[in-house]
C-alpha cells in the first residue's frame, strides 16, 4: 500500500477514510513524520495548486482541510518536538466586528501544511487581543483578515497601536480579505497583502526569508 493513498484521500476529501488509512500506516510501522510529509502535506499542497488554477473552489478546499486535520490529529501526539522544524510562528485572526472566517481558516491550513506554527485567535478579535498576543507570543508575522469595509478599518488601528507601542519592528503585518487590496495595504502601512491563500503562503515565505522557501 502506497503512502500516496493518504495524499489522494486528502485531495479527494475522503474524510471518512483518512483516519483508517493513517492508522493502517502507523500499524505497519511507518513513521508519523513520513505520513505527514509524504501524505498529508502533499495532499494539502495539491489542493492549494488546484485552488490556484480554479479547479477547486472554497467548498473543495474546506472539505480537503477537514480531511487533512482528521489525519493530522491522529499523528500529532506521536510526533516528537524535533520532528517538525517549524518555519516560524504566525499569528492570525479576523478583526473586530467581523465573523467571516472561511478565508482565514483556509490560509491557516495552508500555512500549517507548509510548516508554519499558526496561532489562531479566531474571528471578531478585539484589537487589544492582537496586541497582547504579539507581546506575549512574539510571532514573526501578524496576519489580519476582514471581509467587510466596515471592519477593515481595524487593520489600520492595529498597525497604529503597534507603532505607538514600538512593536512594529518585532512583527511584520500582512492583510487580506475581499475588500482589501495592495493599495489599501500600502496606505495603512502593512508589510504585505495577498489575494488568496496560496499568495499568503508565498508572501509569508518571502517576508520571513526562510531557507526552505
Amino acid at each position: 500500500m502506497e503512502i500516496s493513498l493518504i495524499k489522494k484521500a486528502v485531495v479527494e476529501f475522503e474524510s471518512d477514510k483518512i483516519k483508517g488509512l493513517v492508522r493502517e500506516f502507523l500499524d505497519k510501522g511507518v513513521a508519523p513524520l513520513d505520513i505527514l510529509e509524504q501524505g498529508l502535506i502533499p495532499g494539502m499542497k495539491e489542493i492549494g495548486r488546484l485552488f490556484a488554477i480554479k479547479e477547486y473552489y472554497v467548498p473543495e478546499v474546506l472539505l480537503g482541510s477537514e480531511t487533512f486535520y482528521a489525519g493530522f490529529e491522529l499523528i500529532k501526539p506521536l510526533l516528537v518536538q524535533t520532528d517538525i522544524i517549524k518555519k516560524g510562528k504566525i499569528l492570525i485572526g479576523v478583526v473586530q466586528g467581523d465573523i467571516h472566517d472561511i478565508g482565514k481558516n483556509i490560509v491557516k491550513v495552508m500555512l500549517e501544511s507548509s510548516g508554519y506554527e499558526v496561532l489562531d485567535l479566531g474571528r471578531d478579535v478585539p484589537n487589544e487581543k492582537f496586541i497582547e498576543t504579539v507581546i506575549n507570543e512574539k510571532p514573526k508575522i501578524l496576519a489580519l483578515s476582514s471581509l467587510m469595509t466596515t471592519t477593515m478599518v481595524h487593520m489600520e488601528t492595529i498597525i497604529k497601536i503597534l507603532n505607538k507601542k514600538k512593536l512594529r519592528k518585532t512583527v511584520k503585518v500582512i492583510v487580506g480579505g475581499a475588500p482589501v487590496n495592495q493599495e489599501y495595504a500600502n496606505k495603512i502601512g502593512a508589510d504585505g497583502y495577498a489575494e488568496d491563500a496560496a499568495g499568503a503562503v508565498k508572501l509569508i515565505d518571502s517576508l520571513t526569508v526562510n531557507p526552505w522557501s
Binding site: 480554479k54 477547486y56 473552489y57 467548498p59 477537514e66 466586528g97 467587510m148 469595509t149
Partner: protein, 350 residues
C-alpha cells in the same frame, strides 16, 4: 421617465445609481444603525436623505444582508453594525417536517416545465411556521418601501437575498459550502426553504410596485465553481426573477467577486440589470458598476474620474459602485459619480 428606465429601454446610454445603503446614510445623519435598521420609518428617512443629498437615479432599499435570515431565526448583535451571533435553529434535521416536501419538488418540476409557479407557493400558515424568531424587520422593510414610494419619484429597488446566500446565513457559511459536496440533498432542501421564504416575501414587495435587486454574493465564482452555481444557485435566482417580472417590475442581480466563469449563466437568468465588479465582461444584460468601492472610499478625485472614464467606454451602463458604498465614503466622492453622468447629459439635476 427616469434615467435608469431610459437606459433599460435603450433611450439613453448612462444613468448613475451607486449602491448607497442604510449604513452610509445613517452615518451621514449620525444615527445609531440599529435604531435605523429596526425601524421602517427611520430607514425610509435616512435613505431619502441620502437620495436628496446625492441626487442619483434610484434608491436602493438595503439595510443589511441579514433581514430575511433574521426572520428565519438568525440571531444578530449590533456593535454598531450587525453581526451573526447564532445561526438559525430552524435548520435542524427534525425541522424538515415544517415544510411539505412534495410542494418543493413540485416547484422545481413546475419551473422546469415553465408553468405558473404561483399556485405552488406555501400556504400562509406554513410561512408562519418558518418565522420562528421573526424580529419583524421584513415588515419594517415593507413599511420603508411604502413610505419611500410616497415621497420620492425615482425607481425604488428593494434588496433581497438570493436563496443560495440566504441559506448560507441560516445554516452557517462553512457548513453550507461543505454540504454542497457531501450532503447534497440536505443542501437542496435548505435552499428550497430559503426560496419559499423569499417567494412569500417577494409577493408582499411586488404588491407595492417596487423594483427588486437580488444580492447573491455567496454564489460568486470567488466561492463556488460554475458547476455548483448551475446546480444550486441558478434556478432559485431564475424563479425569483421570473416571479418579479410577471408583475412588470425591473430586476437587478448583484454578485461581487469573480463572475467571469459564470457570466454566461448570469446573462441567461432573465434579469434586467447585472451588478458585477468586472464590467468589461460581455453581456446582453445591462451592466451596473464601474467604480471600485475602495477607490470610492480612499481614492483621489482624479483616480475616481479615471475609473468612471474607463467605465463609460464600455457602452450602455448604470454607473455604480462595484459593491455597497462603504460607510465612511467621502460625500464628494459619491457626488463626483453623479456629476460626471450629469455632465454627459449636459445638465445639472436639481
Amino acid at each position: 421617465m427616469n434615467r435608469i428606465e431610459e437606459v433599460l429601454q435603450h433611450r439613453r446610454k448612462f444613468a448613475v445609481f451607486p449602491m448607497v445603503c442604510a449604513d452610509h446614510c445613517s452615518n451621514l445623519l449620525h444615527q445609531n444603525f440599529k435604531s435605523v435598521a429596526t425601524d421602517g420609518k427611520k430607514l425610509a428617512y435616512v435613505l431619502e436623505y441620502g437620495y436628496n443629498l446625492y441626487q442619483y437615479d434610484g434608491i436602493l432599499l438595503f439595510s443589511d444582508p441579514y433581514v430575511e435570515a433574521e426572520a428565519m431565526g438568525l440571531e444578530l448583535d449590533y456593535n454598531p453594525y450587525p453581526k451573526i451571533v447564532r445561526f438559525s435553529e430552524l435548520i435542524r434535521e427534525d425541522s424538515m417536517e415544517l415544510i411539505r416536501k412534495d410542494s418543493m419538488e413540485l416547484i422545481r418540476k413546475d419551473f422546469i416545465r415553465g408553468k405558473e409557479i404561483k399556485a405552488l407557493r406555501l400556504k400562509s400558515e406554513e410561512i408562519k411556521g418558518l418565522r420562528l424568531k421573526s424580529s419583524g424587520r421584513v415588515d419594517e422593510i415593507i413599511k420603508a418601501a411604502k413610505l419611500l414610494k410616497k415621497k420620492v419619484d425615482v425607481p425604488i429597488f428593494v434588496s433581497i437575498k438570493g436563496p443560495f446566500t440566504l441559506t448560507s446565513f441560516i445554516v452557517g457559511p462553512e457548513n453550507f459550502l461543505k454540504m454542497l459536496l457531501n450532503r447534497k440533498e440536505m443542501a437542496e432542501y435548505y435552499i428550497d426553504v430559503a426560496l419559499q421564504f423569499q417567494l412569500s416575501y417577494l409577493k408582499k414587495l411586488l404588491q407595492l410596485g417596487v423594483h427588486i435587486f437580488i444580492g447573491d454574493p455567496m454564489a460568486s465564482a470567488s466561492v463556488i465553481s460554475p458547476a455548483l452555481f448551475k446546480k444550486y444557485a441558478y434556478e432559485p435566482l431564475a424563479i425569483l426573477i421570473k416571479e418579479s417580472k410577471l408583475t412588470g417590475v425591473y430586476v437587478g442581480v448583484h454578485i461581487c467577486g469573480d463572475t467571469e466563469p459564470i457570466i454566461d449563466q448570469l446573462d441567461s437568468l432573465g434579469a434586467d440589470i447585472l451588478s458585477i465588479e468586472d464590467i468589461s465582461l460581455k453581456t446582453k444584460t445591462l451592466k451596473m458598476g464601474g467604480v471600485s468601492t475602495l477607490t470610492l472610499l480612499n481614492g483621489t478625485p482624479e483616480e475616481i474620474k479615471k475609473e468612471i472614464k474607463k467605465a463609460l467606454k464600455s457602452g450602455r451602463l448604470i454607473l455604480s459602485s462595484s459593491c455597497d458604498v462603504p460607510v465612511n465614503t467621502p460625500i464628494e466622492n459619491i457626488k463626483l459619480m453623479v456629476d460626471e453622468i450629469n455632465k454627459k447629459d449636459g445638465f445639472k439635476k436639481f
